[in-house]
């Protein structure tokens, strides 16, 4: 408990910053909704969107059927940027978890305590999971509050919002744990933030390519972001596809196991 509490507290400042920025973005974006909902503008935007090639629309998570004057569709469009931010945050949390202490040398303090590598791994993992979930709770609460504010009476939004969020959280867990596994193999000279950002944009780009090029469609399996894209969840009005769920679960578990296995025998070089 001692280590878990300490580790979690150390991440609080980052959590506050990320939560504040993302909430602010949500508020800003959603503030445009009433003007978007005015039919004239909606038609105009639809007309403009129609003029774009479908491939481009898909790359931006839009489709010809996207109706930005609908509250949930508008929200889902914004949510993919929130997901982007969340995925990057998850990756940074994961990649920093172990390697940051090694590059700063602070890990020496922990290693001198009567705790095993196993306990260190567990506590670090638990604390980043806690922080990520707290971040999701904050953004979910902000989203629900905003949707509630802008909805027309009787407009139902909660079930689909929750589905979008659980999908987003699942993808973030993949990014978090893959980052965590990377954290056990990265050189202590590497910058976890750069690695996190790089990894996200590479996978995102692969997913984007898959969306516009049929021959390369299989690349979509390499982008967790595209598994759970809020606009597609909404468009299909279904939960996340089974195959994606399985991939995410498997990746998460494998990454965690790898991290435990690798960290158990790792040399501390400071």
């Amino acid at each position: 408990m001692n280590m878990y509490g300490f580790e979690t507290r150390r991440l609080l400042k980052g959590l506050l910053t990320w939560s504040a920025v993302v909430t602010l973005l949500l508020v800003l974006f959603m503030a445009f909704f009433p003007s978007m909902a005015e039919s004239g503008l909606a038609d105009l935007s639809k007309y403009k969107l129609d003029a774009l090639p479908p491939a481009v629309l898909e790359a931006f998570g839009l489709s010809v059927t996207t109706d930005l004057s609908d509250l949930l569709q508008y929200y889902a469009y914004i949510a993919q940027y929130i997901l982007m931010a969340a995925a990057i945050y998850a990756l940074i949390l994961g990649t920093s978890a172990l390697i940051k202490e090694e590059s700063e040398g602070t890990i020496e303090f922990l290693y001198a305590r009567p705790v095993s590598r196993l306990e260190i791994t567990t506590n670090k993992l638990l604390s980043i999971v806690t922080i990520l979930w707290a971040f999701n709770l904050v953004t979910l609460a902000a989203s629900v509050l905003l949707l509630h504010t802008f909805r027309d009476p009787g407009y139902e939004y909660l079930p689909l919002t929750l589905t979008m969020f659980s999908g987003m959280l699942a993808a973030q867990m993949v990014f978090l744990t893959v980052g965590f596994a990377l954290s056990t193999v990265l050189s202590r000279y590497s910058n976890p933030v750069t690695v996190g950002l790089g990894l996200f944009f590479v996978t995102y780009l692969l997913g984007a390519i898959a969306a516009v090029n049929e021959q390369l469609e299989w690349l979509k399996y390499l982008s967790p972001f595209h598994y759970v894209q809020p606009t597609s969840i909404l468009a299909n009005e279904v939960t996340i596809e089974q195959v994606y769920l399985h991939i995410m679960l498997l990746t998460t578990i494998t990454a965690i196991l790898f991290a435990y296995w690798r960290y158990r025998r790792k040399d501390l070089l400071i």
Binding site: T106, E108, R113, I270
Partner: protein
């Protein structure tokens, strides 16, 4: 009982050498000095003992517990002062100490308070704002707070001002007398000379000598400067000193052997000035190095 025991302990970092075939035994209650130039393998040895790194081959035990398999139990009874202090910069000293205390049962809080006072630790400051010396004091307090049975210090005097240094060493002697085994790595010979019972000398990853401090010093080389109106040439020759620089009644030479012989010989003359230099570490190591080479 052997507190620290290593057999053929070897650590390679990839292809580069850390330590090779280290056989070291430190007995309970000893104040053991572990000495060698930078890069000799002092820190590697300590980090292997504490399982920060895994040995490439050989084995090590502390209090009979395996350094790899039972590291957690070892650390419950061991205190460690690192050479470079890299503690969490944004944390206040007070919080760091109570966090460290949280890893042990039954911490004697008044004792910890006394340690903080004795070493003049500024508990309300953040670690990041402290100088190296002040960080070191925090490291000393966290290493002593749980009254360890073994204390491992990696060049503890670095960065400490002379007053705190002397307090540290008198505290170390005190806890040593109370039964704590002290393992001190250093490249400062005089510090080892003053406090340690036995010394191990490590060079290029190999333990080249372990001996009583007195024995080592007895055989040490010293740089001597004597000013005298008398003619010392003959006496110095009798002492077996071959190379002597003489200028304006001043004799400069390197003396090898027990200091007692030198002092008694010089006492036969009228001496205006006498300076006996601390044998520099390099000289010391060259000394043992040459011997090693002679043997081989």
């Amino acid at each position: 009982m052997a507190v620290i025991q290593t057999r053929g302990l070897t650590k390679y970092y990839g292809k580069s050498r850390g330590i090779e075939n280290l056989d070291l035994t430190v007995e309970e209650g000893e104040f053991f000095g572990f000495i060698g130039p930078n890069g000799a393998g002092k820190s590697t040895t300590i980090r292997t003992l504490l399982n920060f790194i895994y040995p490439s081959s050989g084995e090590a035990a502390i209090f009979g517990m395996d350094c790899v398999k039972e590291s957690t139990r070892i650390k419950a009874v061991t205190g460690y002062v690192p050479g470079e202090i890299n503690y969490y910069r944004e944390i206040r000293v007070r919080d760091l100490l109570s966090y460290a205390a949280g890893y042990h049962e039954n911490i004697d809080r008044p004792y910890l308070e006394r340690l903080c006072q004795e070493f003049e630790i500024e508990v309300d400051k953040k670690i990041g704002s402290l100088s190296l010396g002040n960080k070191k004091k925090v490291a000393i307090a966290q290493a002593l707070m749980h009254k360890p049975r073994l204390l491992i210090l990696d060049e503890p005097a670095n960065g400490l001002d002379p007053l705190i240094q002397s307090r540290l060493f008198s505290r170390l002697q005190e806890i040593n007398q109370d039964g704590t085994t002290v393992f001190l790595s250093s490249h400062n010979l005089s510090e080892v000379q003053r406090f340690c019972h036995r010394v191990g000398i490590i060079r290029e990853g190999r333990l080249i000598k372990v001996d009583q401090v007195d024995e080592l010093l007895g055989a040490a080389k010293r740089r001597v400067i004597v000013k005298s109106q008398n003619d010392l040439t003959r006496s110095l020759q009798e002492l077996g000193i071959k190379e002597v620089e003489v200028a304006d009644d001043t004799y400069v030479f390197v003396f090898e052997g027990h200091i007692d012989r030198l002092v008694k010989t010089l006492a036969e003359h009228s001496i205006d000035d006498l300076r006996i230099g601390e044998p520099s570490l390099d000289e010391q190591f060259m000394h043992y190095y040459e011997r090693e080479e002679d043997k081989s």
